[in-house]
């Protein structure tokens, strides 16, 4: 019988891009289980939000996450607008959705690079992060910011998509289409990727439901839920959303789902640009928000985001609760680790696509 040892990973560790403390119990090469600890990037954003006006909260909320910043401010703005009883112009809805999809592409490309690096494909890592720059360039051209876009405001958006943006975006999206097609071929044919991901850390649909997971990890286990289609914010209710699922639930399925989601998001960006109506991009919104409560859900790159907002009739939120998709994904991690070899730990961590800043808030 081999001796049980505990491997500490984090809070600072070369494997991790963000701080989290993992304690992995192993016996020889076999992982027995693990525990984790959060809070190393806990900024108290829910409490801070209560001391800032609704407008001041937008830059704060944008900094919950360095990758999916836009979906957070979008969800928050829709929540405030629901309490104000205003509907933003359709053009602003489409611009918000365009940025959400671009964010999904860049988030998934970033994740693709991290996974490729962990399975030993440094070249794919370099290529995917290079291609991610194309998306960041588009977002920079549109908003002036690569990661924090500052495009949302209560009542609409601050920047329009001008006619001169269209050829630039079409050119870059065409390049991305070609690159994603190449990635699909590499990931479907490359034996080393199959060897490192097929059958690794499978999650059954039952387990996904018990833990309340949503997003690509759930869809990779055959759970066919996507908030863009099933509980849509505008304008997703007017767009045809194709939800990618895979039945196997292993690391390979999670890879498959995300690569095809990049492809679908590219198609969705094109649909949005074709359907975007003319008109204003914002409406005037009062600073004081009437007393009331609202819950808004949206689909972030990693899954379901939920915002609960309560106003007491002042300029400041009385309570803002933010649910991010990484928290349930972290809860399921000890279960995933319990089935694998030590060498597969990086693949499992990468496969879940953790965002610790989101989980801590």
């Amino acid at each position: 019988m081999k001796e049980k040892i505990t491997i500490p990973i984090g809070p600072q560790h070369p494997l991790l891009k963000e701080p989290i403390s993992l304690r992995i119990d192993a016996s020889g090469e076999e992982v027995l289980g693990g525990t984790l600890r959060l809070g190393y990037v806990h900024r108290g954003i829910e409490k801070l939000a209560e001391s800032r006006t609704y407008t001041q909260n937008i830059p704060l909320i944008e900094r919950i996450c360095g990758i999916c910043s836009h979906v957070h401010t979008t969800t928050f703005c829709y929540a405030v607008e629901a309490l104000l009883g205003i509907e933003i112009p359709p053009r602003a809805q489409y611009i918000r959705a365009l940025l959400c999809e671009l964010e999904r592409i860049h988030s998934h490309l970033l994740w693709l690079g991290v996974l490729a690096k962990h399975v030993g494909l440094e070249t794919v890592f370099m290529h995917s992060w290079h291609d991610r720059e194309l998306v960041l360039d588009i977002m920079e051209e549109l908003s002036g910011g690569r990661v924090s876009h500052g495009i949302n405001q209560i009542g609409g958006v601050r920047f329009d998509v001008d006619a001169e943006h269209h050829p630039m975006m079409a050119d870059k999206m065409q390049k991305l289409h070609e690159r994603i097609t190449q990635f699909m071929q590499i990931f479907e044919r490359e034996p080393s990727i199959k060897a490192r991901t097929h059958g690794v850390a499978p999650l059954s649909a039952d387990l996904i439901r018990q833990y309340g997971l949503a997003g690509p990890v759930a869809r990779a286990s055959g759970v066919d839920v996507d908030m863009r289609r099933d509980d849509p914010l505008p304008p997703y209710d007017r767009l045809d959303i194709s939800v990618i699922t895979h039945p196997d639930g292993d690391a390979w399925s999670r890879t498959y789902v995300r690569i095809y989601e990049i492809y679908e998001s590219l198609l969705l960006c094109e649909k949005i640009l074709q359907a975007i109506p003319e008109g204003n991009i914002s409406v005037r919104a009062r600073r004081k928000v009437p007393a009331g409560e609202v819950v808004v859900r949206s689909e972030a790159p990693r899954g379901e985001v939920v915002y609960y907002l309560r106003s007491n009739g002042t300029e400041y939120p009385a309570r803002l609760k933010i649910r991010t998709p990484t928290l349930p994904a972290l809860a399921i991690m000890p279960m995933q680790l319990a089935q694998i070899h030590v060498a597969d730990i990086p693949v499992v961590l990468a496969g879940v696509d953790l965002c610790i800043a989101c989980a801590d808030r």
């Binding site: 600890r37 959060l38 809070g39 806990h42 108290g44 829910e46 409490k47 629901a82 309490l83 439901r209 018990q210 833990y211 309340g212 997971l213 949503a214 066919d224 839920v225 289609r229 099933d230 509980d231 939800v243 009331g292 409560e293 609202v294 819950v295 808004v296 859900r297 379901e304 939920v306 609960y308 309560r310 007491n312 009385a318 309570r319 609760k321 649910r323 928290l327 349930p328 972290l330 809860a331 399921i332 801590d360």
Partner: protein, 150 residues
């Protein structure tokens, strides 16, 4: 795609497993909400899971409202084609909740978060180290209101 749960089914199931009369409230935009007794929470959630397959717990929100400073309101946000919320009120002086982990294992981190941030005691689950707060945190639950209740 998840089958959409109907609000009347939600109400019927909750009403069948509670002693006090309850009704749907529309005060939370986008959510169907019902206020229940904290003691009934576990049984009602178990019934919702068994009878209506309402298993997706999205989040648990706690708050100490300025209009109810002596109480803590805890909301369990579920989703099945739409948002469904169960609301319970706890005395702020001694808030105690029964864990849902034996029926929804995904409630783990949500429960630990509200327990740490609002000082709620969660029974029927193992003792765990802090999830978010530092080990040496000694300033009390950080999301509690500091001013004295009137």
């Amino acid at each position: 795609m998840a089958n959409k749960l109907m609000p009347e089914d939600f109400l019927r199931c909750v009403s069948a497993h509670t002693q006090q009369p309850c009704e749907l409230t529309g005060h939370i935009i986008n959510e169907t909400a019902i206020t229940i007794a904290a003691d009934d929470l576990h049984d009602i959630v178990a019934a919702l899971m068994e009878e209506l397959n309402l298993t997706h717990l999205s989040a648990i929100t706690a708050q100490q409202r300025e209009d109810h400073p002596d109480e803590i309101q805890v909301m369990y946000h579920f989703w099945q084609g739409g948002g469904y919320t169960l609301i319970v009120w706890l005395p702020a002086a001694e808030p105690v909740l029964t864990s849902l982990m034996d029926i929804i294992i995904g409630a783990d981190f949500y429960e630990r978060e509200v327990a740490e941030m609002y000082g709620i005691t969660i029974t029927n689950r193992e003792e765990t180290p802090p999830l978010l707060l530092p080990d040496d945190w000694d300033e009390g639950p950080p999301m509690r209101r500091k001013e004295k209740s009137v």
